[in-house]
């Protein structure tokens, strides 16, 4: 049983923000009205965190993309009263929009604030409705959503693999962000598979995870050189 994980190499990442756009496009994420955005209700599944370290003029700006970390020991799934968010055997944290009652407990419980909520009914002009990604269902008002590691792609990749009776290749199943990262900073693959790039990278000396002390065991691993 594979265990999907993402490795983000911050030494390579320039912080161009392409992953955000790719994600929004791939997953039909609603674009809230300017007023809503002003109230802090923007919906990014992939967000960009910026940290400023040091004193002027020797500032180090650390910028890193933040998807859902798909923790191995997720705090969010435990608290969901209706099993709308859960961890499947491949380690993906699923979010079932049609079961969610919108109590937002999972958002509160997530230490990484990886989840976003549909405060209003998501709306698009009819023209944009043409270019929805047919593989991803639209969310409705009042449900929580989050990065799914583009699980809809996995469905198809699995089908391809099964139909010609083979394992899923390394780099065959990639989320939109890692696929179009101009810096090749985002690697994605199977942690169980000893040959996969992700497995080897996750064992590099530069590897670390956000807030390991919480014991959530994120499956998004950052690589950065320690000074």
């Amino acid at each position: 049983m594979p265990k999907w994980a993402m490795v983000i190499d911050l030494d390579k990442c320039t912080g161009c923000g392409d992953c955000i756009a790719a994600c929004k496009l791939e997953n039909n994420i609603a674009i809230v009205s300017p007023e809503e955005a002003n109230d802090g209700r923007v919906m990014f599944w992939m967000d960009m965190i910026t940290i400023y370290e040091g004193e002027y003029p020797n500032i180090r700006v650390k910028r890193f993309p933040k998807p859902c970390f798909h923790c191995d020991n997720p705090p969010c799934t435990k608290v969901c009263p209706v099993n709308a968010t859960y961890k499947n055997e491949e380690g993906l944290i699923g979010q079932i929009y049609h079961r969610c009652i919108g109590c937002r407990y999972c958002m509160v419980a997530c230490p990484y604030t990886a989840k976003v909520f549909n405060w209003l009914e998501p709306e698009w002009p009819d023209e944009f409705k043409n270019c929805f990604n047919p593989d991803v269902s639209l969310r409705m008002m009042g449900v929580v959503e989050k990065c799914s590691f583009c699980a809809h792609r996995l469905l198809k990749v699995k089908e391809d693999a099964d139909s010609d009776e083979r394992e899923i290749l390394d780099n065959e199943y990639l989320p939109a962000c890692s696929e179009s990262c101009p810096a090749n900073a985002i690697d994605f693959g199977d942690l169980e598979n000893k040959e996969s790039r992700v497995y080897n990278l996750s064992r590099s000396s530069r590897a670390y995870r956000e807030m390991e002390d919480l014991g959530t065991e994120p499956k998004v691993i950052y690589l950065q050189k320690r000074e």
Partner: protein
């Protein structure tokens, strides 16, 4: 009896009207409404006389998620100019073909957009017979008026239980 009715007439009226209403409700909601297709397509003939198999017309059933409902482009490969039979339905079809307008087939099996159902997965990978879900279509002399098997989540789950395949939400929901 009459005495009884006379005595508590009110109760009688209430009861009878209630029953009446119930009957109305029954007739309206009880029967599942049927779907009428533009052409009374006869599977039986095509399977037995023209000995076709499902995939001959439902081309993508083994290769893609949707099985594809054949339309004139495919029909006209056989029904080119003069009719084989004298059935009025075939005349209709030929009319569609020569006017090059698509046959407005009605979909009777459908899943909501937050469900990913793949024929490829079920037919070519899962080795299921079409009849498992669609009933024995070969015997149908006229198109099925309603699904022989409702594609609801419960039904899916039952079958998945029976075949011991995944229940993972993400394997169907997207």
């Amino acid at each position: 009896m009459r005495k009884f009715i006379k005595h508590n007439f009110r109760l009688f009226v209430i009861a009878s009207s209630a029953i009446f209403v119930l009957m109305i409700v029954w007739t309206v909601f009880g029967t599942r409404h049927t779907i009428v297709q533009p052409i009374e397509y006869n599977h039986k003939i095509h399977v037995e006389e023209a000995d076709l198999i499902c995939i001959d017309c439902h081309l993508s059933v083994e290769t893609m998620s949707s099985a594809m409902i054949p339309n004139i482009e495919i029909c006209q490969e056989c029904h080119s100019d003069e009719p084989f039979t004298d059935s009025p339905e075939e005349i209709k079809l030929l009319k569609y073909i020569e006017e090059e307008e698509h046959i407005p087939w009605q979909k009777i099996y459908s899943v909501p957009d937050h469900v990913y159902f793949s024929h490829r997965r079920h037919v070519s990978i899962g080795d299921l017979e079409c009849s498992n879900c669609h009933g024995n279509v070969e015997e149908l002399e006229s198109p099925a008026p309603y699904p022989s098997w409702e594609p609801t989540m419960d039904n899916c789950i039952d079958c998945h239980k029976q075949y011991k395949v995944t229940f993972d939400c993400l394997s169907c929901h997207r």
